[in-house]
C-alpha cells in the first residue's frame, strides 16, 4: 500500500471517527439556535462561528459530515445491488438478456444525470420532514446511479460466462443459480467492490449539488449540500474564511476517496 493510500485511509477514518463523536464533541446539536449570536465569528464557544440564524457551525459540519458519510455508502450499496442484479445477471445469462440489458442501460446512460435527478426529485413532495427528505434524496441517488456500474458488471460477467472454469463447472452438471452464486458472483466481487467505492464520491457530489440548489436535504438537518449553500451569501473569502471549512473538508474527503482506490481498481 502506497504512503498516499495509507494517508487517505487515515484521513477517512479520522473524519468518520470525529463525525461519529458529534454528540460528544458538539453537545448543543445542529438545530439549537443561539439567538444572541447570529452570524458570529469563531470563538471558544463556537469554533467555526454561527450561521445567520445563530446555529453552531461546528456542530452542523460534524452532523452534516456524519449524514453524508453514512448515507452515501448506503446509496452506493443500493446502486451496486441494482447493478449486480441487472448487469451481473444479464452478463451471466448472455444472449437476448444481455442485449436487452445493454439497450436499457444505454437508454438510462443517455439521460443526463442531473436532469434526470431533479426530474425524479421533483416528482416527490418537497415539503416533507427533514428525515424523510434525507432518506429520499440518497435513495433516489442509489436508485438512479446503477447504470454505469451495470455496464461494467455485465461486461465482466459476460467474460466470466465464457471462461474455462465456468465451462468446466457447466460440463460437471452445475447450472442455474448455484453456478451463478457459487462460481460467478465471487469472481465479480472485486468489480462490485470497485464500483461501490467509486459510487460513494459521485453520490456525495450529487447530494451537494442538489442541496445547494434547494432540492436536497430539508432544514434543519445538515448535510454537505445544505452546508455549502451558505457560500451563497459570501461576499469575499477574506472576510469570513471559516465559512469555507465545509468545502475544504469535502475536497479532503473526496480526494481521500480517489486515493484509496488504485488505478487498476478505478479502471476495473
Amino acid at each position: 500500500m502506497s504512503a498516499a493510500r495509507k494517508l487517505a485511509c487515515v484521513v477517512l477514518l479520522a473524519v468518520c471517527g470525529v463525525s461519529l463523536a458529534a454528540d460528544w464533541l458538539a453537545p448543543a446539536g445542529y438545530a439549537r439556535q443561539f439567538r444572541e449570536f447570529p452570524g458570529s465569528p469563531p470563538s471558544r464557544q463556537h469554533l467555526l462561528g454561527t450561521d445567520e440564524i445563530g446555529r453552531d457551525r461546528f456542530a452542523r459540519v460534524l452532523y452534516g459530515t456524519r449524514i453524508s458519510l453514512l448515507l452515501a455508502p448506503a446509496a452506493a450499496l443500493v446502486s451496486t445491488f441494482l447493478a449486480a442484479l441487472v448487469g451481473g445477471l444479464a452478463g451471466y445469462l448472455g444472449g437476448i438478456w444481455l442485449r436487452i440489458a445493454t439497450g436499457f442501460t444505454d437508454l438510462f446512460l443517455s439521460l443526463p444525470w442531473l436532469f434526470l435527478l431533479i426530474t425524479v426529485r421533483a416528482l416527490l413532495p418537497l415539503n416533507v420532514s427533514p428525515l424523510f427528505s434525507v432518506l429520499i434524496t440518497f435513495f433516489i441517488l442509489g436508485l438512479l446511479g446503477w447504470a454505469a456500474s451495470a455496464r461494467v458488471l455485465s461486461t465482466s460477467a459476460d467474460s466470466l460466462r465464457n471462461s474455462d472454469f465456468v465451462l468446466q463447472a457447466r460440463a460437471s452438471g452445475l447450472h442455474g443459480p448455484r453456478l451463478f452464486f457459487v462460481h460467478v458472483l465471487p469472481n465479480l466481487r472485486p468489480v462490485l467492490y470497485a464500483q461501490f467505492w467509486i459510487s460513494i464520491p459521485v453520490f456525495i457530489l450529487s447530494e451537494a449539488n442538489l442541496g445547494i440548489l434547494g432540492l436536497g436535504v430539508a432544514e434543519p438537518l445538515p448535510s454537505w449540500g445544505s452546508l455549502l449553500r451558505e457560500l451563497e451569501g459570501l461576499v469575499s473569502f477574506r472576510e469570513e474564511p471559516w465559512r469555507l471549512v465545509p468545502l475544504v473538508l469535502l475536497i479532503v474527503v473526496l480526494t481521500s476517496f480517489q486515493l484509496v482506490l488504485s488505478n487498476e481498481e478505478l479502471t476495473a
Partner: protein, 288 residues
C-alpha cells in the same frame, strides 16, 4: 456503409427519444396531484363547470392516451403549457436555448483548449513538477461540486462559461493525459522518436492519429457533462437558459416542462454522441 451507420444511429435516436418520452409521460401521469386542477377549487364555479373540468382531464388518465396526445401535439409543434410559468413550453425553450448553447459552447471550447494544451505540453515537456501540477489541479477540480464552482464564479465575478470549462477540464485532462502516455509507449512511436524525428512531428504525424478516435468519443460525452452542469451554473449565476428553466420547473414541480427539457437535452446528447461515432467511422482507415 457510412449511410447505413447514420441510418442505424437515427433509428436508435428515434427509438430512445420515443421510449424516453413514454417514460417521462408515465412519470408525469404517476406524479402526486396530477389529477387535481386548482381551477376546480374556485368557489365561483358551479358544479357543472367543475364536472366539465374533470371531464376535460379524464382523457389524460390513461398513460398511453396521454402519451399519444402529447406526441400528436409535439408533431404539430405543441409541447404543452408550463403549469408554473403559464406559457407554451415551445416558446420557453425557444427563448432559453440560445443562452445555454452560448454558455455551454464557450465553456466546452475553453475547457477543451485548457485540458488539451496542458496534456500535450505535459507529454512534450516531460517535467515531473509540471505533470504533478496538472494532476493535482484536475484532482482538486474533480472534488468540487459544479454548484460550488458556480457560487465561486459569482463571488469572483467570473463568467458562467468559465465554471463550465473548469467542470469539464479535469475529465478531459485525465483522459487525454492517459491516452497520450499510452500512445507514446507504442513501439512505432518509440521508433520514430529514436530515429530523431522532431517532437512536434511525432506528435502531429504519429500520436494524434492514434488518440483522435477516443478524443472524438470523449467530445460527445463532454457535451452531456456541459449540459448537465448548466443547471447549477445558470441557476446560481442568474443566466436565463435551459438549466435555470429546469431548476425553476423542479422547484415548482412543473413536470410537463421538466420532462420536455429532459427529452430535449437527451436528444442533443444523443446527437452529439452519434455525431462523434460517425466521425470516428469516417476517420477509420479503410482496409484494402
Amino acid at each position: 456503409m457510412l449511410l447505413s451507420k447514420i441510418a442505424r444511429h437515427l433509428a436508435a435516436l428515434a427509438g430512445i427519444v420515443l421510449l424516453g418520452g413514454l417514460l417521462s409521460a408515465t412519470l408525469v401521469r404517476l406524479a402526486p396531484g396530477f389529477d387535481s386542477d386548482e381551477r376546480a377549487f374556485d368557489p365561483s364555479l358551479n358544479a357543472e363547470s367543475v364536472h366539465a373540468l374533470r371531464e376535460a382531464r379524464a382523457g389524460e388518465r390513461n398513460v398511453l392516451h396521454f402519451y399519444a396526445a402529447y406526441l400528436r401535439g409535439a408533431l404539430h409543434g405543441d409541447l404543452g403549457t408550463s403549469h408554473a410559468l403559464g406559457q407554451p413550453v415551445q416558446n420557453l425553450l425557444r427563448e432559453r436555448w440560445p443562452v445555454t448553447l452560448r454558455v455551454a459552447g464557450i465553456g466546452l471550447l475553453l475547457g477543451w483548449l485548457l485540458a488539451v494544451t496542458l496534456a500535450f505540453t505535459a507529454c512534450l515537456w516531460r517535467r515531473t513538477a509540471y505533470d504533478l501540477f496538472g494532476t493535482a489541479l484536475s484532482g482538486a477540480l474533480l472534488c468540487i461540486p459544479a454548484a460550488v464552482l458556480a457560487l465561486l464564479s459569482v463571488i469572483l465575478n467570473a463568467p458562467g462559461y468559465l465554471a463550465i470549462a473548469l467542470i469539464i477540464f479535469p475529465k478531459i485532462y485525465r483522459y487525454a493525459r492517459n491516452l497520450l502516455a499510452k500512445a507514446y509507449a507504442l513501439p512505432h512511436i518509440t521508433a520514430a522518436c529514436a530515429k530523431g524525428l522532431s517532437e512536434l512531428r511525432v506528435l502531429l504525424w504519429h500520436v494524434v492519429p492514434v488518440v483522435a478516435p477516443q478524443m472524438i468519443a470523449l467530445a460527445g460525452i463532454t457535451v452531456s457533462i456541459a449540459l448537465g452542469a448548466s443547471i447549477p451554473i445558470e441557476s446560481l449565476c442568474g443566466l436565463p437558459g435551459i438549466g435555470q428553466l429546469a431548476w425553476q420547473a423542479a422547484l415548482a414541480r412543473d413536470l410537463p416542462l421538466l420532462v420536455n427539457i429532459t427529452v430535449l437535452v437527451t436528444l442533443v446528447t444523443l446527437l452529439a454522441n452519434s455525431g462523434a461515432d460517425v466521425m470516428i467511422h469516417m476517420l477509420r482507415p479503410r482496409e484494402a
